[in-house]
C-alpha cells in the first residue's frame, strides 16, 4: 500500500492519555501494522463529553471546535473509545445544528471518525493478527460503542484472530457498568451497585480477563473487581490485539 | 371567555406554527380517516382455511384458552357438558340472547340447564357468540348489542364462546373489515358498536410478586367451541 497508505489522525482520548498511555501505543501499533500513517495532533485534549453530558453546551462547542480544527485533513480519525468516537460522530453534528458552516465541518469529521476496532475490522478489514494471548476472556460492550456506533462484532472478530484467546460471553455483556462519565461521581451509591452487578456478571462468566473498548468503563469495572479481591484482570482490547500485554492489567500493581 | 377547547386547540396550533388546517392541508388526514387502510401487517396471519384455524387454536391455547372443535352445532352441548364436568363446574348456563346460540339444540344434553338472557348476579357460566376469531393471536372479537350484553363476557367465572370456522380471520385488519361490513347503515363511523371486546385468553394478573395467576377480575377460564362450517 506504499504511497497510498491512509493517513490516520489518532484521537488518543483524555483517559488513555492520562491513565493508560499504553493503550494509545497499542492503537498506534495496530494502525501502523494495518498500513496506516499515524499522526497524533498535539492540539487535542478531550472530546468535551463531560461538558456536553452536563448540559454545558457552550464549552462543549468550544472544545468541539478545537477538535474539528485539529483533525482537519486526515483521511480518518480513530479513537480507542466508543464513547469519544460516538461523541464526535453522533453528537458534534447535533451541537452545531444551528450553524451551517460548522455543521458541515462537524459532519465531515463525523464521517471520517471511527472507533478503533470497528475501523480495523469494518473499514480496513484486517483479518490476520500476529498477536497471541492465552486466556479465557469475556467482552464488555460499552454503551456508546454498542448503541451509538453498533460496535458489537468488530472486537470479537478481531479477537478471533488472536491465537490462544478463548471467548466466554457473559449474560450481561450489553448491560451498562454504571460508569456514565459524571454519573459515577454524582450518584456514587447507585453507580456502585451497578458496577457490583457488572462484577458479578464478569465473575460468573468464568473468564480470567475482561476486555472492552472504553477506558472509563474498564477503570470502573477494574476498580470494583479489585475492591472485591476478584482474580479477574481487566484490559483494553487494543492491548490484546497489539500483543502488548506485558505490563500489569488495569488497576494491578508492579509489586 | 375562551373555553378550554379553544385554549387547547390554540396551544396546539401555536406550537405547530399554523392556524386551523386549510381544506387543502386537511385532505391528507381526512382521507386517512375515510379510507382507513392497513399499515404493515405481519405475515403470520396470512394463512387460509385449515391452516388458519390451526393457527387460531395454537395461539389461543398458548394463552390458556381451551379450544374444542365440533363438526356441527348439534355437538356443542355435548362438548360443553363434558368440559363443565371435567372442571367440576355448575351446569346452569346463561346464554346470550343471540339467535345463533338459540339454534343450538341445548335440550339434547339433559344435564345442562340453559337460560338465554342478560347476566344476573350469580351466573357462573356464560355462553356467548363472537363476531370473529383472529388467528394471529388466538383472539376473539365480541361486539355489544341487544343480542350480546358485554357484561356476560366478564362477570361469570367461566366464559364459553361459540364460533364458526368461517368467522375466523387471519389478522386484525380482516376482522376490522368484517366489522365494518357488518356495521349498520347510518352516518360514517357508525358501524362501530358501543363496545368491541378483543379477548385473548382468560383474565390474569401478575401483580403479586410477578406470579402469573388466572382469574383476576374477569373469567377464570375460557372455552372456545369452534363449529366447522366449511365442510369436511
Amino acid at each position: 500500500m506504499a504511497g497510498q497508505s491512509p493517513h490516520v489522525g489518532l484521537f488518543v482520548t483524555c483517559l488513555v492519555d492520562l491513565m493508560r498511555p499504553s493503550v494509545g501505543f497499542a492503537a498506534v501499533k495496530l494502525l501502523q501494522a494495518a498500513g496506516c500513517a499515524v499522526t497524533v495532533p498535539a492540539a487535542q485534549t478531550c472530546c468535551g463529553q463531560p461538558a456536553y453530558n452536563s448540559g454545558d453546551d457552550e464549552d462543549a462547542r468550544a472544545i468541539a471546535r478545537r477538535v474539528i480544527a485539529a483533525f482537519e485533513g486526515f483521511d480518518y480519525v480513530v479513537a480507542p473509545s466508543g464513547s469519544c468516537a460516538g461523541t464526535i460522530k453522533v453528537h458534534y453534528p447535533r451541537l452545531f445544528a444551528g450553524d451551517t458552516d460548522m455543521a458541515k465541518r462537524a459532519e465531515d469529521l463525523a464521517r471520517r471518525t471511527h472507533e478503533l476496532t470497528s475501523f480495523l475490522n469494518d473499514v480496513l478489514q484486517v483479518t490476520d493478527s500476529k498477536a497471541e494471548y492465552r486466556a479465557k476472556v469475556t467482552y464488555h460492550d460499552t454503551c456508546s460503542g454498542l448503541r451509538e456506533l453498533a460496535v458489537k462484532t468488530a472486537p470479537r472478530a478481531l479477537l478471533g484472530g488472536v491465537k490462544g484467546v478463548e471467548l466466554a460471553e457473559s449474560g450481561g455483556a450489553e448491560t451498562c457498568c454504571g460508569f456514565g462519565g459524571t454519573f459515577c461521581v454524582k450518584y456514587p451509591d447507585i453507580s456502585g451497585h451497578m458496577v457490583d452487578a457488572k462484577a458479578d456478571d464478569v465473575i460468573a462468566s468464568g473468564a480470567d480477563v475482561l476486555l472492552g473498548g472504553d477506558l472509563g468503563c474498564l477503570l470502573n469495572i477494574a476498580g470494583r473487581l479489585k475492591r472485591r479481591g476478584a482474580a479477574v484482570g481487566v484490559r483494553h482490547v487494543a492491548e490484546v490485539l497489539a500483543g502488548m500485554t506485558g505490563g500489569p492489567a488495569i488497576g494491578e500493581g508492579e509489586g | 371567555m375562551t373555553t378550554g377547547r379553544e385554549t387547547i386547540l390554540g396551544n396546539i396550533r401555536k406550537s405547530l406554527n399554523r392556524g386551523p388546517l386549510s381544506a387543502e392541508r386537511a385532505a391528507g388526514p381526512e382521507h386517512r380517516l375515510k379510507a382507513a387502510k392497513p399499515n404493515l401487517v405481519p405475515a403470520r396471519g396470512a394463512v387460509e382455511g385449515a391452516e388458519r384455524v390451526a393457527l387460531f387454536i395454537a395461539e389461543a391455547e398458548k394463552v390458556d384458552t381451551t379450544v374444542s372443535r365440533v363438526a356441527a352445532a348439534a355437538e356443542v352441548p355435548g362438548v360443553v357438558a363434558a368440559y363443565l364436568a371435567a372442571h367440576d363446574l355448575p351446569t346452569a348456563l346463561k346464554a346470550a340472547p343471540d339467535p345463533a346460540l338459540a339454534d343450538i339444540p341445548w335440550s339434547r344434553q339433559s344435564t345442562l340447564a340453559v337460560r338465554q338472557g342478560g347476566p344476573e348476579g350469580g351466573d357462573e357460566v356464560g355462553v356467548t357468540g363472537a363476531l370473529a376469531g383472529i388467528a394471529e393471536t388466538g383472539t376473539l372479537m365480541l361486539v355489544s348489542g341487544p343480542h350480546s350484553p358485554t357484561t356476560l363476557n366478564f362477570l361469570p367465572d367461566t366464559h364459553i364462546a361459540v364460533l364458526t370456522t368461517g368467522a375466523i380471520d387471519g389478522t386484525y385488519e380482516e376482522a376490522w373489515a368484517r366489522l365494518r361490513a357488518a356495521g349498520s347503515e347510518g352516518p360514517e363511523g357508525a358501524f362501530m358498536p358501543r363496545t368491541v371486546n378483543l379477548i385473548t385468553g382468560p383474565s390474569r394478573t401478575a401483580d403479586i410478586e410477578q406470579t402469573l395467576l388466572l382469574g383476576a377480575h374477569g373469567p377464570r377460564r375460557l372455552l372456545i367451541v369452534i363449529i366447522d362450517d366449511q365442510g369436511p
Partner: protein, 474 residues
C-alpha cells in the same frame, strides 16, 4: 401527589438497602426483558412495526388539532361528551362535577397514569367521594397509600408478605386466622371484595390507551378485565386521557397494539382490548348511560415541535423502565413522583418543574438501552440531555459541580496548559500508585472509592511520551 424528587439521593440510598425491593427488582430484570425478547424474536416484522407506529404518531402530532376535533365529533354523535381541560385542576374539577351530577358516593377506577398525574383520587376524596382502584396492583398500593412504582406494574416493589399484611390490616370483617399465604389467596380475597365494589359503584373511571378519531372510540387495554367491569357496570363512564393519545383509525390502533404488549410484558397481546364508543344504545341491556371523555393538555400542546416533541409519541408501555439499569437498581419510588424510569426522568421536570425534579435527568448513565427498546423510537437520552442543558443554562447545577466542570473545560480548551497540569499530576499519581496499581482512597474522589478502587495512572501521559519519542526519531 406530593413529589419527593428533591430528595432523590436519599430515596435511592433507602432503596439500595430495601431487601424486598432488591428481590423484586432482580425478578423484574429476569422477567419482562426476557419475555419481550422472545416476543420480538417471534415476530419478524417487529422493527417495521416500530417504524409504522412511530409514523402514525408523527402524523397525529402534526395534525393533532384536526384529529382531536374529529374524535370529539364522533363522540358527540354517539351521545357522549368531551371535556377539554387545560391543566390538572380543570380535569379534576371536570371529573368531580360529573361525579357530583351523578350523585356518586363511590367510583371504581381502572389504572390510569393520567389519573395519577392529576391526583384525581385525592381530589375526589377531599370532596367526599370514595375512589376504589380495581387493578390489583393499583388497589394494593391504594390501600397502602403509596404511589405506583412502575407505570404498568404499580406494586412491583412489594413482596407477598407485605401484601398479606396490608390485607389483614385493611380488610375488616374477615376471619383473622384466614389463609393468606399464597398469591392465589390474596387474589381471591381482592377479587371478592372488588366484585362488590364494581357492582356498587355509581361512576366508573378508566384511562385510555388510545382515542380513535375515526370512530370516537376509546381503547383500553388490561389483563385483568377490571377496566371492562369499571366501564360497563356503573351508570356513568368517565375516561381520562391526555390529548396525544388520539390515533386516526382502528388499523392504526392495531399497529400500535402490536408493539404495545410485546414491549411491555412480552405478551403477544394483552388479554382484554376494548373499544368503547359512547353510552348504552337502544336495545342494549347493559353499558353506561353517560359517556364522558376528560381530555387533558397539561402542557402537552406546548411541547409540540419543541425539544420534547418526540416524547409525545410515548404509549406508556414501560419497556424503558424494564430495561433501565438505573431503574433496575433503585426501583420507581426513588424518582419521587408519578412517572419513573427514563420516561419519568423526561416527563417529570416538565410537569413538576426542573427545580423539583432536577436530579432525574442527571441520574442516568445515558447508556441508551431505553431508546434501543422503546417501541416508539423516542430518543430518551437526547431528551435527558435537553433537560441538563436547561439546568446548566438556568444555573440549576450545584456550584461545586459547576466549578469542577468549568475548570476542566478551561484546561481542555488550552492544550499546552492542560498538558503541563495533567502531565505533572499523572506522574505524581503514577509514582504513588505504581506498587499497588490502584488507590483505595483518594481525596475528592470519595464517591468513587466508596465502592471501588481507583486504578492508578501508568505515569507519564501518552502525549508526553509521544512527543519524546517523536523527538528521538528523525
Amino acid at each position: 401527589m406530593e413529589s419527593t424528587s428533591r430528595t432523590f439521593e436519599d430515596n435511592a440510598r433507602k432503596a439500595l438497602i430495601d431487601a424486598d425491593l432488591r428481590r423484586a427488582l432482580t425478578k423484574l430484570g429476569h422477567g419482562f426483558p426476557v419475555k419481550r425478547r422472545m416476543a420480538v424474536e417471534r415476530l419478524p416484522e417487529f422493527e417495521g412495526l416500530r417504524d409504522a407506529a412511530r409514523a402514525i404518531k408523527e402524523d397525529v402530532l402534526e395534525n393533532l388539532d384536526f384529529y382531536l376535533e374529529r374524535f370529539e365529533e364522533r363522540v358527540v354523535e354517539q351521545g357522549g361528551q368531551v371535556h377539554w381541560c387545560v391543566d390538572a385542576a380543570e380535569a379534576n374539577q371536570a371529573v368531580l362535577a360529573i361525579c357530583q351530577e351523578a350523585g356518586a358516593r363511590t367510583v371504581t377506577k381502572s389504572k390510569s397514569m393520567i389519573g395519577e398525574e392529576i391526583a384525581i383520587n385525592e381530589h375526589l376524596e377531599a370532596n367526599g367521594i370514595t375512589p376504589v382502584e380495581t387493578d390489583l396492583g393499583e388497589y394494593i398500593i391504594q390501600l397502602r397509600g403509596e404511589p405506583p412504582s412502575h407505570i404498568i406494574a404499580p406494586a412491583i416493589h412489594l413482596s407477598m408478605d407485605q401484601v398479606t399484611e396490608t390485607f389483614r390490616q385493611c380488610h375488616d370483617g374477615l376471619a383473622a386466622d384466614r389463609e393468606l399465604s399464597e398469591p392465589r389467596d390474596l387474589l381471591e380475597e381482592a377479587r371478592a371484595i372488588l366484585r362488590q365494589k364494581f357492582l356498587a359503584a355509581d361512576v366508573g373511571i378508566t384511562g385510555a390507551n388510545m382515542l380513535i378519531a375515526e370512530t370516537g372510540s376509546v381503547a383500553v387495554v388490561t389483563n385483568e378485565g377490571n377496566a371492562d367491569l369499571t366501564m360497563t357496570l356503573p351508570r356513568v363512564h368517565v375516561v381520562i386521557a391526555s390529548l396525544e393519545k388520539v390515533v386516526p383509525t382502528l388499523e392504526d390502533a392495531t399497529t400500535i397494539l402490536r408493539v404495545l404488549a410485546r414491549s411491555a410484558t412480552g405478551q403477544e397481546t394483552s388479554v382484554y382490548t376494548t373499544f368503547a364508543s359512547g353510552p348504552r344504545r337502544p336495545g342494549d341491556s347493559d353499558g353506561p348511560e353517560e359517556f364522558h371523555v376528560v381530555l387533558l393538555d397539561n402542557g402537552r400542546g406546548a411541547m409540540l415541535g419543541g425539544d420534547f416533541h418526540d416524547v409525545l409519541r410515548c404509549i406508556r408501555c414501560g419497556a424503558c423502565l424494564n430495561h433501565c439499569p438505573v431503574y433496575g437498581t433503585i426501583g420507581g419510588h426513588a424518582y419521587g413522583w408519578v412517572y419513573s424510569g427514563p420516561i419519568g426522568a423526561v416527563l417529570s421536570p416538565g410537569l413538576i418543574g426542573l427545580e423539583e425534579a432536577g436530579h432525574l435527568p442527571n441520574a442516568s448513565t445515558l447508556c441508551g438501552k431505553c431508546e434501543e427498546v422503546c417501541p416508539m423510537r423516542i430518543p430518551l437520552p437526547k431528551m435527558l440531555r435537553h433537560w441538563r442543558t436547561r439546568q446548566f443554562d438556568r444555573d440549576l447545577v450545584p456550584p461545586a459541580s459547576r466549578a469542577a466542570l468549568k475548570g476542566w473545560a478551561f484546561l481542555a480548551k488550552r492544550p499546552a496548559l492542560y498538558r503541563a497540569a495533567t502531565g505533572l499530576a499523572m506522574r505524581l499519581l503514577g509514582a504513588l500508585g505504581r506498587r499497588r496499581g490502584a488507590f483505595r482512597r483518594m481525596p475528592l474522589a470519595g464517591g468513587w472509592t466508596a465502592a471501588r478502587d481507583l486504578p492508578a495512572p501508568e505515569g507519564a501521559t501518552f502525549m508526553a511520551q509521544w512527543s519524546r519519542r517523536k523527538g528521538a526519531r528523525p
